[in-house]
């Protein structure tokens, strides 16, 4: 009871703080300084049409590197924690129900289309909304649909681990190349900028986003695989 009262008082305090914040909020009419700079220079300097991409990949590239590391650490943590030792008691495995024939046929039909759409999302990240993270999530969901439709489906851990580590290494390598060949870490101008508005433009951004997409996709798929694996 005391605990509930305490939480109630805390919520009231929080409410008062937020209310005060809301009262003093002023509507902004134009872009802030740094955003204005990005909007003016982004398209001409980096050749990207999507300004969010130019911020995520290049201007704030180090943040993205940190984020990818956090994701990697989380995936590793899940894998290490859910690893099963020999001496632990083994739960009795329940009989799983096989999915219907319709769902299996539908999965065979839809998975290539979904993977292709994921590829579209991360390779067109500099022209349309999306990028490595979203594309990776879409590819991971294609793997997941295979898991759902077939209870015996297994992913190839060697290939997935290889793709994950190789894309991570190449991502950092491209970043370091940027220091030597262009203006700084993760600068995309190590490759020619190309014609504005086509797929192969904006220097290294499609390459970087492909690597991020593969890495995020394999990591999310391996998180799901670890969560799925029952007592085997």
């Amino acid at each position: 009871m005391i605990k509930k009262m305490f939480s109630f008082i805390l919520i009231i305090f929080l409410f008062l703080i937020l209310f005060e914040l809301l009262n003093n909020l002023t509507e902004n009419k134009k872009l802030s300084g740094v955003a204005k700079e990005y909007a003016e220079r982004g398209a001409a300097e980096l050749g990207t049409a999507n300004l969010v991409t130019s911020i995520v990949v290049t201007y704030r590239g180090l943040d993205t590197l940190g984020e990818v590391s956090v994701l990697f650490i989380a995936a590793t943590g899940v894998a290490v924690l859910l690893r099963r030792r020999k001496d632990e008691e083994i739960l009795i495995q329940k009989v799983k129900r096989q999915s219907s024939e319709i769902l299996q046929t539908g999965t065979d039909l839809l998975v290539p289309i979904i993977i292709m759409f994921g590829v579209y999302i991360f390779i067109n990240g500099h022209l349309s909304p999306g990028g490595g993270f979203q594309g990776g999530a879409v590819i991971a969901s294609a793997v997941l649909l295979s898991f759902l439709s077939d209870i015996n489906y297994k992913i190839n851990h060697t290939v997935f681990g290889l793709i994950e580590s190789l894309s991570g290494v190449f991502y950092v390598l491209i970043g370091v190349l940027g220091i030597f060949l262009a203006g700084g870490f993760l600068d995309n101008r190590i490759l020619p900028l190309g014609e504005y508005g086509t797929i192969l433009s904006a220097g290294a951004i499609p390459l970087i986003y492909t690597l991020i997409g593969l890495k995020v996709g394999t990591e999310l798929a391996s998180i799901i695989d670890n969560m799925k694996r029952d007592s085997e």
């Binding site: 799983k96 999302i121 979203q134 879409v138």
Partner: protein, 89 residues
Amino acid sequence: MDKLPEIILHISTYFVSAGIILATLRLIKGPTMADRAVALDTFTVISISLIVLIACIAGRVIFLDVGMVYAILSFIGVVAVARYIEGGL
């Protein structure tokens, strides 16, 4: 008179929003989790229309990409809930 198509589009947006509210009511009421899953299914399909309507009113073709991602992920979500219910996860 020039504004007629725009006004009709706005009216359709309100119809679609009303549909979402009804699906939400089923989500609240639904006695079992399968009923709530049906509400989720209905709601996601209606939302795709809403997204495309927003894209039309804003006049940006790029919003359609969001609609496609939404369609893919909502389909997989409903299938996952179904597989959970029948115990095949």
